[in-house]
Amino acid sequence: MDNIILELEKAQMKENAPSFNTGDFVRVEYLIREGKNERVQPFIGQVIRLSGHGFRKTFTVRRMVQGEGVERTFPLHSPRVVNVAVERGPNRKPKQARLFFLRDRVGKSAQL
């Protein structure tokens, strides 16, 4: 790829991008706009996918809300993603790179 493009992307990248792995339980602090104010809305769940690399890296977080599975995908380098804090790691290291099988599981079997 062209150097100019890499340079542009580097300029937009976060210097200390949070690092975490699939299976980790994370707390994503996401800036939302409420009327005129901005506030941080946390989204807490398990990382089930890391996709892309460099500036275009995204991750998907899954959580259960009132018995319903909710997934959100965030661009890692988005200015709206203020912080991603790892709350705890998985019970055991997942064998899979992407944890889509968790979608079909409920309760205790949804643990790694």
Binding site: L8, Q12, L31, P75, S78, P79
Partner: protein
């Protein structure tokens, strides 16, 4: 400058940028200029008024002798690429003037003209979007065009029947693309969406002719 803005650029590639509200915008990065006004066409002398822009300075061996002399006569640096842009009036332009990405502002709506990537001699699936035949069940007609007409009547193939042809490497215009970023320091323009052509190919930008303006 008039509301008719234009510039020559080279396509560099695509990336994405974040807007303030966090939306991701796909953009094409263009190396915009530096362009030089190499000539002004006037109504009286040429029969139309236009501004000629040059891109990529050239040495003597790169242009033909008559052209080199012409550049000398006009007193401007020779350029490899010359394109004219029609304007209502050439007021405000000067031969020798340099133009760069600062011509445009973020939010400007432009038409982008480029030459699409060449696909060589392409068959009907790539060139015309025909459907593919069956790959199994004994079929050998996988990417063939199929029937191209009827039988004794009309006894000929109709004109305009779509067949394999040389595809790509044609002038294409992307209309109403928004300028998403102007980087004067690096000499770059960011245009929303894709732009025809391969990396480093020539691209002409001008204020959109139809649709929403600015």
């Amino acid at each position: 400058m008039s509301d008719n803005k234009f510039l020559l650029a080279r396509k560099k590639g695509m990336t994405q940028i974040f807007r303030e509200d966090g939306t991701v915008v796909p953009v094409t990065v263009l190396e915009a200029g530096p362009c030089m006004v190499t000539g002004l066409m006037s109504e009286g002398h040429h029969g139309y008024s236009a501004v000629q822009l040059g891109l990529t300075p050239a040495r003597e061996k790169h242009v033909s002798k008559p052209q080199w002399k012409d550049f000398e006569k006009r007193g401007v640096k020779a350029h490899r690429i010359l394109r004219e842009f029609r304007v209502p009036s050439t007021d405000g332009f000067e031969v020798g003037q340099e133009l760069g990405p600062e011509v445009f502002e973020v939010g400007d709506v432009v038409d982008v003209v480029g030459k699409s990537k060449g696909r060589g001699f392409a068959s009907v699936i790539k060139a015309h979007g025909f459907a593919r035949g069956h790959e199994t069940h004994g079929s050998h007609s996988v990417r063939t065009p199929g029937s191209i007409g009827q039988c004794a009547y009309p006894g000929r193939v109709f004109k305009g029947q779509r067949m394999a042809r040389h595809y790509g490497d044609e002038q294409r215009t992307v209309k109403n693309a928004t300028i998403e970023g102007v980087d004067v320091e690096r000499g770059l323009l960011l245009v929303r969406g894709g732009v025809p052509g391969a990396p480093n190919s020539l691209v002409q930008l001008a204020t959109a002719k139809t649709g929403r303006r600015g």
